[in-house]
Symmetry: C2
Subunit: 159 residues, 2 copies
């Protein structure tokens, strides 16, 4: 493994560690626990499960891999904050979508070379990317790993 | 900037973004808010401020930079969970230590070359590091960036 491959491996190991930790938590929490708010007046577990699923689903086109699988989640779980009156998919449906999206991402991640990790993401034009080469796929991976850690820190309050 | 420098820059940008976000939050919260629990029965803001400070302070020797500046924080903020009966330093003292430790880390980070980021951290022996080259400084940076994001996700509940 050369140094560039090692840099990528470190970032990916970090992502996979966060995913695994979240998987374990989602497997451990009951549906009743996931229906609870993480703190008084704050998002419920089910909302954060849907939110993380939708945000990871959006990575599929953002990283220029493929189309979103669950575009219908975006409105309720990204655009809107949690709302007890909203009609959500069931927890088992959301858990299945969570697994599917992360498996798809993992398969794409495995295939990228270090140079491809440094290619632009889909929210930056080729012209702007010339001037701002840090706006690449790996940058997005870092920021979404933190995003997951952020909400994981809230989800553990359901235990 | 070559690719190896870019890989390091991405990881460091991510760290600094989390630090900046936390700084802003700590500056925004009043002392009264920081004395509150982040959720019922969970850690108080002051505890998480001390915890993050102590964990970042421990990075100084863990990354083989220098000795800890505030070793006295470790017992109350890392070994022990939050405890209303514990004697904590004042919030202003903790905030000053938080800034000092992060400034020291930033200065060391700036000086490291990509190759030095891939050198071992202090919890792995040179012999084990031969077999496990991912146990390096950059790996620790990734994991502590997530650690910060995790607790930031809890601290925002004080707002």
């Amino acid at each position: 493994m050369n140094n560039e491959q090692l840099f990528v491996k470190l970032a990916l190991d970090n992502w996979h560690a966060q995913i695994k930790r979240a998987d374990t938590l989602f497997d451990t929490l009951t549906d009743e626990q996931l229906q609870q708010a993480t703190a008084p007046g704050r998002s419920r577990g089910i909302y954060l499960l849907g939110h993380l699923t939708a945000v990871h689903d959006i990575l599929l086109p953002l990283l220029r891999f493929e189309e979103q699988r669950y575009p219908e989640l975006r409105e309720a779980f990204v655009v809107q904050p949690d709302n007890a009156a909203a009609e959500f998919p069931s927890i088992s449906e959301l858990k299945a979508a969570w697994k599917t999206v992360n498996e798809k991402l993992a398969a794409h991640f495995e295939r990228l070379t270090p140079a491809e990790w440094l290619e632009r993401h889909n929210s930056v034009s080729p012209e702007d990317f010339e001037k701002e080469p840090h706006r690449n796929r790996l940058n997005v991976l870092h920021s979404r790993t933190n995003h997951l850690a952020h909400h994981y820190g809230q989800l553990v309050y359901l235990k």
